[in-house]
């Protein structure tokens, strides 16, 4: 169920972000499906490979795409489990995403370009710093509910005996903020990175895929959108209503995804990106927010 919805959202997510940015800068802007049309154009093209790159460079776009797709299977939808669901499935979820990232990094190093190596080292550093935020947040929610899989955690978060809905929803809000910024970090958006820039020296993610072309590039770009929708659906899971009609949950899902896209677009319109050495600070700040969630859970459950 959820995977289908994620795929639908991925059709218009980046388009919505771009459209928001265009409207704020006083332009009409491209259609909402333009990014998708660009990707289709790329998918129809062949790829060019440099002579210095090995087979790793060729397989990575597919590996990257499939890891994100698999990760999407973990996410439940309201009353429905994800296709893959077991105890502590969120650990595998995080590391499947990390696996995709790992392959991306070695593919960048494989090209032998000094730019791509630079981007790879930045990406590795930032995803390493982002990891604690994810685990602390989801771990705290697990502690609150007493469960340990995505499905059980999200299903019982607002209905546990220990916390009133007011508290659980405010924790949910905080967790959404963490997930939103994690989504920005993982997708290299402003204020961490600038997806629109042409300046190789300032890029993080974009510089790693400089050598990819045609079908491979299309696949990587689409995976990026998919990843965004993935984080959006994690947020949406925090706000589903149990035991209600599924259409209402679908409506909640789409409105939250759209809200997510609009927020990203607005942020990108009115913010400058950070200086590179301030990024780690910012990402660690996410960990501190997640610690706040952890502290809240500890207090509620009476552990301290």
């Amino acid at each position: 169920m959820n995977i289908v919805l994620i795929l639908i959202v991925s059709l218009f997510f980046t388009g919505l972000v771009n459209r928001t940015k265009s409207i704020f800068s006083g332009r009409k802007g491209p259609g909402i499906f333009q990014p998708l049309k660009d990707i289709f154009r790329l998918l129809k093209k062949g790829s060019v490979y440099s002579t210095t790159s090995s087979f790793i460079f060729r397989i990575v776009p597919s590996v990257y795409f499939s890891t994100v797709l698999i990760a999407a299977l973990f996410i439940p939808f309201g009353g429905d489990r994800g296709l893959i669901s077991f105890q502590f499935d969120f650990v595998l979820f995080a590391y499947i995403l990390a696996l995709g990232k790992f392959f991306n990094i070695i593919s960048a190093l494989d090209t032998g370009s000094s730019f791509e190596g630079m981007g790879a080292s930045r990406e590795a550093l930032y995803s390493m710093l982002a990891e604690p935020a994810f685990f602390i947040t989801i771990g705290s929610l697990g502690l609150l509910t007493g469960y340990s899989s995505f499905y059980q955690i999200f299903n019982s978060i607002h209905y546990s005996a220990s916390a009133s809905p007011v508290i659980s929803y405010s924790l949910g809000m905080l967790a959404s903020v963490v997930f939103m910024f994690l989504g920005l970090v993982e997708n290299s958006r402003i204020p961490i990175d600038d997806p629109k820039t042409h300046l190789e020296l300032t890029m993080i993610h974009e510089v790693m895929i400089l050598d990819n072309s045609g079908f491979d590039l299309g696949l990587i770009l689409y995976t990026g959108i998919l990843k965004f929708a993935l984080y959006g659906s994690l947020i949406a899971n925090m706000f589903f209503l149990n035991s209600t009609h599924i259409l209402i949950n679908i409506f909640i899902f789409f409105s939250l995804q759209a809200l997510f896209a609009l927020t990203v677009g607005t942020l990108e319109s009115f913010m400058a990106r950070f200086r590179m050495n301030q990024n780690p600070q910012f990402i660690l700040m996410l960990s501190s927010v997640s610690l706040l969630i952890f502290l809240g859970v500890m207090i509620i459950t009476g552990k301290i």
């Binding site: 940015k21 704020f24 800068s25 006083g26 332009r27 000094s114 730019f115 630079m118 402003i190 204020p191 600038d194 629109k196 820039t197 042409h198 300046l199 190789e200 020296l201 300032t202 990108e268 319109s269 009115f270 913010m271 400058a272 990106r273 950070f274 200086r275 590179m276 050495n277 301030q278």
Partner: protein, 509 residues
């Protein structure tokens, strides 16, 4: 003309901006004496070297050094004769004063003059007629460090944006830049020798317009000044008015475009699009005035083909009235946005001492507290009537250079408004310019938006050009960029580069 009477032997001659003198009246010194006196001039921070070049005369090389005295609006000229291509080795002035660095490299490259203690005589550009034919662009001697911890990053000559070619070689420690070397010369067109080959005046002035496309008015004005002065023609009030207005409009347009680009580099979308939109009406006004958005065709020696009519005045006033409030609002937003300030402040610092040492000019100098503005120090055109106060900032960072742009734009708008109160009548001139004077030397300094532009011309006994020397402000300032990025992060290089916005083709010639 004013001679140094206080000395028994005349060691140098002083001229005014745009003054033509007899070439033979520039005193010839022995090289040692020449070196000594020029180094002495530069001991005073009010003096700076505006041009230093060689001209071949039979088997000798004549070197001419032009030092501008900014407090007295005079330019001091000296010359010497050296042997070249021989075994004779000369001491270099660069060893004592870094301001001569690029000039001596250029002289060595073109004529093969050997220097004893020049730090590193690297190629400047790759002219067809260079002295050493074995030095190729493919074996440029980069500064190189053998180290396990440091790594090199090469950028260019082909860049991701549609910009001009230039190669940047960084030596980095992780994300930090230790050293940057800038290698230019990819688009050397031989402009200086083309000036001698093209016989028609129209060809020459068109060439001058294309020295650097973004400084069309600046370079064309410098050429027009030179030519009019050589021909003994005094530009009337209307010509001066037109050129002043054009120079200031060019300043507004390019500075606004730069602000947009600076915002683009820090991914501040709002500033990027608003400043981009604000630039358009200004260049469109140029189009409606002279048919070209970059003002090509507007500046011609001794003639004005595009009278500044009252309709143009009304439309320009309207454009400026619309421009100002939007500009002020946007610049306020930019300067009050903490995220933007974070990127601009303390990035790419050039200290006062560095700027002085390398002989920086224009915006790059003014941002570091060094007062270099030809409009005040060697006034020309209507700047003689305007009490121009240069905008000086003291931090030398990207933010200072951004602030200078804001204040210069507002200043230019003020000047244009005051000049529009009193538009000189259009003269239908039919003057045919006489032949340029014989055996003459002329120097012209113009403050373009980027900084001081210097053109020099020398004629022979038939009144034909035998040397035309161009110096764009970028010639001095590229080194300032290389110094500014040291100890900065490599990801901040683009914003530093944009804050200087130097010309590649103005350097490559």
């Amino acid at each position: 003309m004013e001679c140094s009477n206080n000395m028994t032997i005349r060691k140098y001659i002083t001229v005014l901006n745009n003054e033509t003198i007899d070439f033979r009246s520039i005193p010839v010194l022995e090289y040692d004496e020449f070196m000594e006196i020029n180094l002495l001039f530069l001991k005073n921070a009010n003096n700076h070297c505006v041009n230093y070049f060689g001209i071949q005369s039979d088997d000798k090389l004549i070197l001419i050094c032009c030092i501008a005295n900014d407090s007295r609006a005079r330019i001091k000229l000296t010359r010497t004769e050296v042997e070249f291509g021989q075994d004779k080795i000369y001491p270099s002035m660069t060893a004592k004063n870094l301001a001569f660095n690029m000039f001596e490299r250029e002289i060595c490259e073109n004529f093969g003059v050997k220097y004893l203690d020049h730090p590193w005589l690297k190629p400047v550009r790759y002219p067809f007629d260079r002295f050493t034919k074995t030095s190729l662009i493919s074996d440029y001697p980069f500064y190189h460090v053998d180290s396990e911890e440091l790594h090199e990053v090469g950028v260019g000559p082909i860049h991701a944006g549609i910009i001009e070619p230039g190669h940047f070689r960084f030596i980095c420690k992780g994300e930090q830049i230790i050293h940057l070397e800038i290698q230019l010369g990819y688009q050397h067109r031989g402009i200086e020798s083309l000036f001698l080959q093209k016989n028609k005046l129209l060809q020459k002035v068109t060439l001058a317009e294309s020295i650097a496309g973004d400084t069309t008015v600046g370079h064309a004005s410098a050429f027009a000044n030179i030519w009019e002065s050589l021909c003994g023609y005094e530009p009337d009030e209307e010509l001066q008015f037109v050129r002043t207005i054009a120079l200031e409009l060019e300043r507004i347009a390019i500075h606004t475009g730069d602000l947009s680009a600076i915002c683009g580099d820090i991914a501040y979308q709002l500033g990027n699009s608003v400043f981009g939109r604000l630039r358009t009406p200004i260049i469109n006004f140029m189009q409606s005035w002279c048919g070209n958005r970059l003002a090509k065709g507007l500046i011609r020696p001794a003639v004005n083909n595009y009278p500044f009519t009252s309709e143009l005045k009304a439309s320009l006033l309207k454009i400026l009235d619309d421009f100002e409030p939007d500009f002020n609002e946007m610049i306020k937003k930019l300067f009050h946005n903490p995220g933007c300030l974070l990127r601009l402040e303390k990035t790419g610092v050039v200290t006062y001492d560095q700027a002085l040492e390398i002989g920086a000019v224009g915006m790059a100098a003014k941002a570091s507290g060094l007062n270099r503005d030809i409009r005040t120090s060697h006034p020309f055109y209507q700047y003689k009537n305007i009490d121009h106060q240069p905008v000086i900032k003291h931090h030398g960072d990207v933010f200072s250079r951004t602030q200078i742009r804001r204040e210069e734009i507002l200043q230019s708008i003020k000047y244009i408004r005051s000049m529009l109160d009193n538009i000189p009548a259009h003269n239908q001139r039919n003057d045919i310019l006489p032949q340029p004077q014989r055996n003459s030397f002329t120097i012209s300094l113009v403050e373009g938006w980027r900084g001081e532009i210097c053109h020099c011309a020398i004629t022979n006994e038939n009144g034909e050009l035998i040397k035309y020397k161009i110096k764009d402000p970028s010639f001095h300032n590229w080194l300032a960029l290389a110094l500014s990025v040291r100890k900065n992060e490599i990801s901040d290089f683009p914003i530093c580069n944009k804050s200087f916005n130097l010309s590649y083709c103005g350097f490559d010639l």
